[in-house]
Amino acid sequence: MPLESYLLLGAAVFAIGLFGALSKKSAILILLSVELMLNAVNINLIAFSNFITPLTMKGQIFSIFVIVVAACEVGLGLAIVLMLYRRRQTLEVDKYNLLKG
């Protein structure tokens, strides 16, 4: 398959993740949507790695770091989610509007 199809797949997954992050109600699912977006990035990175730098595999290296960051993010995100739940007994982001102007 040509590189472009993988890039399009990455864009589609990113768009799905973006839509989820912008529209979902549950804080956990928003977190997962962000993970989907990171995943889309990984698809792109590995596709590039395969087509542009097949010998040095730079894209794969980068996606390893992306996965590391994603793991950190989930760990911290879930800790925060737990704390929020303890405070407000809900994870619906509609209830968290302290920034209201």
């Binding site: 199809s5 990113f14 799905i16 010998l55 595999m57 290296i61 793991a71």
Partner: protein, 172 residues
């Protein structure tokens, strides 16, 4: 149609379909499982891209760690009334515009771009990369970033434990 193409179509269909199902499913556990399915299919895509190590890592990290962790949190915080609306007050029009326009822009950019392998690496196009090569690259060329990433993980671990324990404030 080559096996390669077929695999790609099936896998990308799985990724996108389960991604969409993730968006619309009312049950949060179902949503998480669709998420898992999307990621496993992505791992298949990685396999197809000659990146088995990353495919395995994807399964290990996302399926083995992240999904289980999320299921834990879902179990711990499951809401008493199951009536859960899928979408928040933002609605779906704005996010849909954003997502679709993002995809459209990316598609336009991709269709207008040409990609060629780095001149020095054209020889590697058909070569199968091994884990050993990846390891050498990671631990020799990218040792410092690797160490920093490890340290970041450690910090995140400590911070997550500290936050989740909720010490110092209204721990209930």
């Amino acid at each position: 149609m080559s096996p390669d193409q077929l695999a790609f179509f099936i896998l990308s269909f799985m990724v996108i379909a389960s991604g969409l199902m993730f968006l619309v499913s009312k049950n949060i556990i179902h949503a998480v499982l669709y998420f898992l399915l999307a990621l496993l299919a992505t791992a298949g895509i990685f396999l197809q891209l000659k990146a088995p190590f990353l495919a395995a890592t994807q399964i290990l990290v996302y399926a083995g760690a992240i999904t289980v962790l999320i299921l834990f949190v879902v179990m711990l915080t499951i809401s008493k009334d199951p009536e859960v609306k899928v979408f928040g007050q933002t609605g779906i029009v704005g996010p849909a515009i954003a997502a679709v326009s993002f995809f459209a822009i990316m598609a336009a950019v991709v269709s207008r771009s040409t990609f060629t392998p780095l001149p020095a690496e054209t020889a590697g196009i058909d070569q199968v990369q091994t884990v050993a090569q990846l390891g050498m690259e990671l631990y020799v060329e990218y040792l410092l970033p690797f160490e920093i990433a490890a340290f970041l993980l450690l910090i995140a671990l400590v911070a997550a434990v500290y936050i989740a324990l909720g010490r110092g404030h209204d721990a209930t």
